[in-house]
């Protein structure tokens, strides 16, 4: 029974790969392949579940593919199955199948039919990796797949401005969650001294001795996990991304944001529950987050006048309640609630266009011209305030921009000088200093590399940030990110001599090819009109779809997306940052956060959005 677990991942992977090679014009083949694989997945699951029930609900854990094994480090995939996996897998598999069948007709003749099915398959692959994951690494791979699939489906209508803008909004906040998970993994490596599998959480004695020894660090891990969960499930104060994510075809909105993607936060909490059950701080946090979310999201739901945002916020409200249920230990109820909520919201989203006819008809027969209730002034004031707050979504979107991203933009602008030609010798000098310190580290007092590392990391981070706020030439922005990454690499090498050359090779293999490919793509685009300034959207995908794909892949490879060995390299990079090096870990993780954002920003500004040449019908910016 255990070996079967692999197939839950392999099936969607094969489906995704096969989907890639079917030509885009073959609608029937694309849909057929998706539906067949989804059905197979469901059948396999039902078979597996029967066996599982027959064996009286064992917990299944299977160590799988080992990526790398070194002296003190081992990175591998691990699969796991228990009742939580069971419920999530069942609902996921059923919804995937139903939505594929629905989309087969719904998407008919839509430009990007193949793109759509590829993306939902990539998403489903990520979803399965997460729910079947037995350790943080496997979960994280799935997490990345889901993130990028979401990004690409939100910007599905890539020739319009709003989907593209919202896609970067959503991926930005997702990326924050990614980094939170990376940090959780990082700390986990350090306190367990191994790649911990979730199965070990089931050993109470091990867990309690571990926790008593490392309580603050464990708390840090869990806060990061909770942060990641809050972001994925749109909990307060990260709620405003969910309605904005509903830019793609209605079916993908239903599948992702009505059901599977948004409930991943719930899953994460349930999966790690054993670990945090004894931590009152976490319970308290979850309760507070849950209650705040219920209040805020419910008040926003009240005043939503568009159907999709109404469903989005009511789903967030329900997830707030699920957070509460989990915090209170009612896990069975939470699972049931997840299943019901996912099915209900997906359905409501799928049929959301019908609401116009249904409610107008309803209004025709049941209209009640109720007069405003006469209440005392204080209550009226409260109601009005809540109303306005609801319309403004409690300013959540605004605050996020102002207090989360704006400061970084500002720093990036201020550090724009680093990208200056004049500053180049200075930047090079810092880099060479770092190299010098590294190669002749025996000549220096050991404190020097320790101090130099964060400075180098900071320089790298600032370079990346300057690229993130760059509104000038895309090629120079690209070069800055590449330079920034080299600084980050150097800083880790400085801080830890164990990060050897074979690791660098592993990390560099993807990065090297990606940097060259990305550079080349931008150079080709620049040749067209000699205008690749990042101050606007160019929409070059209309003219050069192939270059756009290559560039996107370069961005992903460079950012450590699990398609090249760089992915393992990044993991290694992090695990070589020592627990004590707080400055270093802060800058390195920030650098990784903004690397992906800076790259995707280049991608969307150059390739997506309204095509800049109005020789054909172009969408309005406001549409």
């Amino acid at each position: 029974m255990t070996p079967l677990l692999h197939y839950f991942i392999l099936l969607p992977l094969v489906a995704f790969l096969i989907g890639l090679i079917i030509p885009g014009s073959k609608e029937k083949h694309i849909a057929f392949s998706t539906i067949m694989f989804s059905s197979a997945h469901l059948l396999l699951l039902l078979t597996f579940m029967s066996l599982w029930v027959y064996n009286s609900f064992p917990i299944v854990d299977e160590k799988s593919l080992v990526f790398i094994k070194a002296d003190d480090i081992e990175i591998f995939l691990d699969f796991y199955f228990d009742r939580i996996t069971c419920v999530f897998a069942l609902i996921g598999s059923i919804l995937m199948l139903l939505v594929s069948i629905f989309s087969r007709f719904y998407l008919h003749r839509e430009q990007g039919y193949k793109r759509f099915f590829s993306m939902i398959q990539l998403f489903f692959l990520g979803y399965n990796l997460i729910i079947f994951s037995g350790n943080y690494e496997s979960l994280f791979i799935g997490w990345e797949f889901i993130g990028i699939a979401s990004f690409l489906l939100i910007s599905f209508y890539r020739d319009r401005y709003l989907p593209v803008r919202n896609s970067i909004k959503v991926i930005s906040i997702y990326r924050l969650g990614d980094i939170a998970l990376i940090l959780a993994m990082w700390m986990s490596h350090h306190i367990w001294h191994e790649n911990i599998v979730f199965a070990k959480f089931n050993d109470p004695s091990l867990l309690s001795s571990h926790l008593s020894e490392h309580y603050p660090s464990a708390l840090f891990i869990m806060f990061m996990v909770v942060l990641a969960a809050m972001i994925k499930s749109g909990q307060f104060p990260f709620s405003s991304w969910l309605p904005r994510a509903m830019e793609g075809p209605t079916t993908s909105s239903g599948l992702f944001y009505g059901a599977l993607s948004s409930h991943i936060g719930v899953f994460l909490l349930l999966r790690t529950a054993k670990y945090w059950e004894t931590m009152p701080e976490i319970k308290f946090t979850l309760i507070v987050v849950g209650i705040l979310t219920i209040i805020v999201a419910a008040s926003i739901t009240q005043v939503q006048s568009t159907i999709k945002s109404q469903i989005a916020y009511s789903s967030i409200t329900q997830m707030g309640i699920i957070f509460l249920e989990i915090a209170l230990g009612w896990h069975a109820l939470a699972l049931l609630h997840f299943a019901g909520n996912a099915l209900l919201r997906t359905y409501q989203l799928l049929v959301s266009p019908a609401v116009l006819n249904y409610l107008v008809h309803d209004q025709f027969y049941n209209y009640d011209p109720s007069e405003p209730v006469k209440t005392n002034l204080g209550f009226k004031k409260l109601r009005s305030t809540l109303y306005v707050l609801g319309i403004k979504e409690w300013n959540l979107d605004f605050f996020q921009y102002r207090y989360l991203w704006s400061p970084f933009k500002w720093i990036g602008k201020k550090s724009g000088f680093l990208g200056n030609r004049k500053a180049l010798p200075f930047v090079l000098a810092i880099f060479l200093c770092g190299i010098g310190i590294h190669f002749f580290r025996d000549e220096w007092p050991p404190i020097i590399p320790v101090f130099a590392a964060p400075v180098i990391a900071l320089t790298g981070f600032l370079l990346i940030l300057s690229s993130f706020s760059n509104s000038g030439n895309a090629i120079s922005a690209w070069v800055h990110v590449v330079m920034g990454q080299l600084f980050v690499l150097l800083s880790v090498m400085l801080s830890n001599t164990d990060f050897g050359y074979h690791f660098i090779l592993l990390w560099g293999s993807g990065v090297f090819i990606a940097s060259i490919a990305g550079f080349w793509c931008l150079w080709l685009i620049q040749k067209i009109d000699n205008d690749i300034l990042l101050n606007r959207y160019h929409g070059y995908v209309y003219e050069r779809p192939v270059i756009a794909v290559v560039f996107l892949l370069s961005c992903l490879a460079f950012a450590g997306f699990p398609i090249t060995p760089t992915f393992v390299g990044v993991d290694l990079l992090f695990s070589h940052v020592d627990k004590q090096h707080i400055g270093l870990i802060v800058f390195v993780s920030l650098a990784f956060l903004f690397t992906e954002l800076a790259l995707l920003r280049i991608y969307i500004r150059i390739f997506l959005g309204q095509h800049k040449k109005m020789t054909h019908a172009i969408a309005y910016k406001s549409s």
Partner: protein
């Protein structure tokens, strides 16, 4: 540069009749420059005029330019507003190389328009010359300087909130909590909220103060923002056209507040004030006092939005191509019509039955099939409200539905009584599910039911309360208050029921207009149409345009009842229309999506005719089978070679499937309107492309009836045609884009996602199969009579003289065509005399190829040529 300095600006706040607060500027300096009322009037003229989606009335998307010649109008619109108004040049060239634009037609058109001498030059321009077709619209130029100057995307900061406020205010029932309304209107409500809440919509003090100061109007706000009075109009145009969907909706609701059930008082003025305030607020917030009015240092005087448009060579080339594209089809239609004299008129004595349909081009094929099944029957076409205009109030309904063409204001009310049905509910749409607590119960309870429902709809689609049901519009078992028995009962200031005189007038007018004044068959059917569809906010666009975008079942039933009324018949008898006692009228409705017909009041059919009716029903069913098969050739999900029963079932399923964005293809492909006897077109295969309006010139030699027949052709058929035309050529700006990401806003419209502007126009799923050609109206009468008729009404004349539709007079005596151009009729001789003969239409449908893409070269390949029926 000397500028007028306005001294002593005095504003007064006057309440106008509607209670709107209108600011008028007391100073003479102001009115001679900027007058807000004039400017708003001007803006409204160009905004889209689509009403809330529950009623969909097709109209010319560029109605504002209809006072110009077609090409001048569309290219002016393109230059000012940046619309794509024709196909792309390369598309025309591709159609030409594929033979769909005919060589002989191109030659003819170029020679006619450019003269034989320069024809070669123009032909080479059309075929080879490279042009820069890049469009740089004038609109938006002024306001784009916020971006270039301050690097500030003002729309990004203002629009999301503005749209949210507007949709919340106008919301008809999505939100659980209503907008706290102040009966004085939109701005007053905003002021109330600002005063009553701790948290307003504004972040800065100046904007708040300006809002609460009721003396401040658009002028003062524009002074702050723009600075120079001469740029005000341009600024407001730029601003309102950056979200023409919402502005258009507001302007429409201001003009037609009745188009909402839950009424709102809103004006474009109020919205402009709020938007200007939001802009000031955004600028103050991000730049404190470090920003200047926009016009400082800008050469605004050199930039006039409405300066005359220079007609460039590329426009000329495009217009030549468009003409050639249109005439490549029209020429065959006319050639086909000219062959009509070969056919003998049917012997009227033994007509088996007569059936009236809507002129809608979707009925064109159904009529063809019925006639082929029963060659002895006779079919007619007339606008689908059958000449009876009224408001309809179903039992238990809180409102009335208007059932007649949009411009008509009926004085009558028809009530439905003694119904047996009650309004069904669908728990999955229940708003309770959005509450936190009840939502919890719902998630746990009906969440699983939702999953089961989804499975049911995927595999066994069937009608449900969530689906727009064309037959649900009327309860077949209920009765209607049609005959007032000459009593005067008023309800909502409408007359309940018609008097005998009223009824007789209407029946007479209709019968005379279609030329059915004698030789009545035993059974005369009046078949209206409607359309059922699931998950379709644009369902109204598929219903009957002559019934204000609703199913016409009631009209057909009312008309039949009137024509059966004994008192009416005796009055008609006095007026020379003798309907035999043995003749009975039956109303019914054709669902154009599911291809079903239901007849009403069949219980009243006299016993003697019941069997006849039964046999006719079988004929209708056979015709529907064939019609379904014909339609199925366009649907990838249906195998046209399948047995008829399966095709019918599959067609029906499309209309009740939530996953089907194309329940039917609507008016796509419409291109011709034939006003005349059915005999002149009966022998032709016109592929659902022709509006067929029955009219018999022999009963109307002076053209007295013709005036009324032609009046709706422009607004109704021309409106449909041009809406499809423009949504086809620019689906991004003039159409609604693809349906798939649509989000229903306030039950009044759709937007993309949650932050977008409203999207008026038609979605891509409706227009793919449409060839963007103007309507060719063919009228069977002598040219001088037709000319007299169209000149009798200036609004009607505009359609023809400005060439927004083409007009041909088909002289019934000489059998010649006369084309109307530059105010006169000149003879047109079809270029091609030889048309294909259709031996087996079924084979044609079965072997249809599916389209590869929505590109014009692929998508409209299946728009079949004109054939002569065998």
């Amino acid at each position: 540069m000397a500028r007028k300095i306005i001294q002593q600006k005095k504003t007064e706040n006057i309440q106008n009749k509607n209670g709107h607060s209108v600011l008028t500027h007391g100073h003479i300096n102001v009115s001679d420059g900027f007058n807000i009322d004039n400017v708003l009037h001007h803006i409204k003229h160009y905004l889209p005029s689509q009403t809330p989606l529950k009623d969909f009335i097709h109209h010319n998307s560029l109605h504002a330019f209809q006072d110009k010649l077609f090409y001048e109008g569309i290219f002016t619109a393109a230059t000012i507003f940046g619309y794509q108004v024709t196909l792309e040049l390369k598309d025309y060239r591709q159609l030409y190389s594929e033979g769909r634009i005919r060589k002989d037609v191109v030659k003819e058109i170029v020679e006619k328009r450019k003269g034989v001498i320069s024809a070669d030059f123009w032909k080479s321009c059309m075929l080879e010359k490279k042009y820069d077709c890049h469009l740089a619209p004038r609109i938006g130029w002024l306001r784009s300087h916020w971006n270039t100057r301050l690097n500030f995307d003002i729309d990004n900061k203002v629009q999301p909130l503005l749209f949210r406020i507007l949709s919340s205010y106008l919301d008809q029932g999505i939100a659980i909590q209503k907008f706290p309304l102040n009966e004085k209107g939109f701005l007053a409500s905003i002021r109330d909220l600002q005063k009553n809440s701790g948290e307003g919509f504004f972040k800065t003090k100046r904007a708040k103060d300006l809002l609460l100061n009721e003396d401040i109007g658009v002028y003062e706000l524009l002074m702050i923002l723009v600075g120079n009075e001469s740029a005000f109009e341009h600024y407001l145009f730029d601003q309102q056209f950056s979200h023409r969907g919402w502005s258009g909706m507001v302007a429409t609701l201001e003009a037609k507040p009745d188009s909402l059930l839950d009424k709102r008082r809103i004006s474009l003025y109020d919205v402009v004030v709020l938007e200007l305030l939001l802009e000031i607020d955004a600028l103050d917030f991000y730049f404190k006092n470090r920003w200047n009015p926009l016009t400082i240092g800008l050469p605004i005087n050199s930039y006039n939005l409405f300066a005359p448009v220079q007609k460039g060579e590329v426009m000329e080339v495009l217009s030549l191509w468009q003409d050639a594209f249109e005439w490549s089809y029209y020429d065959d239609v006319l050639s086909g019509l000219s062959k009509g004299n070969l056919i003998k008129p049917t012997d009227p004595v033994d007509t088996s039955f007569q059936a009236m349909f809507c002129i809608d081009e979707r009925e064109c094929s159904l009529r063809r099939h019925i006639e082929s099944i029963d060659p002895k029957c006779e079919t007619f076409g007339s606008p689908g409200f059958f000449g009876v205009e009224f408001f309809f109030k179903p039992e238990h309904g809180k409102f009335t539905d208007k059932l007649c063409p949009a411009p008509v204001q009926p004085a009558y009310l028809i009530k439905e009584i003694n119904t047996s049905k009650h309004v069904e509910k669908d728990i999955l749409f229940d708003k309770q599910s959005y509450h936190p607590g009840k939502g919890w119960l719902y998630s746990l309870g009906i969440g699983f039911w939702a999953g089961i429902t989804l499975v049911k709809n995927l595999f066994f689609p069937k009608m449900s309360p969530a689906i727009s049901n064309a037959f649900g519009h009327m309860d077949a078992n209920g009765s209607l208050t049609i005959d007032s028995n000459d009593k005067m009962i008023l309800e909502d200031s409408l007359r309940v029921g018609f008097t005998t005189e009223d009824m007789a007038n209407r029946v007479e007018k209709l019968l005379r207009s279609i030329g059915l004044v004698s030789e009545f068959a035993p059974l005369v059917y009046a078949v209206a149409h409607g359309s059922s569809s699931a998950n379709n906010p644009h369902h109204g666009a598929h219903d009957c345009g002559a019934c204000s975008g609703r199913p016409g079942s009631i009209n057909a039933r009312v008309f039949a009842a009137m024509a059966n009324n004994e008192k009416v018949r005796s009055l008609l008898n006095e007026r020379g229309i003798k309907i035999p006692d043995s003749t009975f009228f039956v109303g019914g409705m054709h669902d154009t999506a599911s291809d079903m017909i239901e007849f009403s009041d069949v219980a009243y059919i006299p016993e003697l005719l019941k069997d006849l009716h039964k046999s006719n029903v079988i004929k209708f069913e056979q015709a529907l089978n064939k019609n379904a098969k014909e339609r199925s050739r366009r649907f990838a999900s249906i195998n046209s070679k399948d047995v008829l029963g399966n095709i019918r079932k599959a067609i029906n399923n499309r209309s009740v499937s939530f996953f089907e964005p194309r329940p039917e293809l609507g008016h796509g492909t419409n291109s011709v309107c034939i006003v005349g006897r059915r005999d002149i077109s009966k022998h032709l295969f016109l592929d659902r492309r022709a509006f067929l309006n029955s009219y018999d010139y022999r009963t109307d030699p002076e053209g007295k009836i013709l005036v009324d027949v032609l009046k709706p052709i422009g607004p109704v058929c021309g409106g449909i045609n041009l809406e499809y035309y423009f949504s086809r050529v620019d689906n991004h700006k003039l159409g609604a884009g693809t349906k798939l990401p649509h989000n229903v806003v306030g039950l009044i419209g759709v937007s993309n996602g949650c932050d977008g502007d409203l999207r008026p126009g038609l979605p891509v799923q409706m227009i793919e199969v449409h060839d963007p050609v103007r309507l060719l109206v063919v009228v069977e009468h002598r040219p001088e009579i037709v000319l007299k008729c169209i000149q009798s009404n200036s609004a009607m004349y505009e359609w023809f003289i400005n060439e927004w539709v083409h007009l041909i007079a088909f002289d019934p005596i000489e059998k010649k065509f006369f084309l109307f151009k530059n105010g006169e009729f000149t003879e047109y001789i079809p270029l091609r005399n030889h048309l294909g003969i259709l031996e087996n239409s079924e084979l044609l449908f079965e072997n249809a190829s599916l389209m590869d893409s929505a590109h014009i070269a692929d998508a409209t390949k299946e728009n079949l040529p004109v054939f002569v029926l065998n």
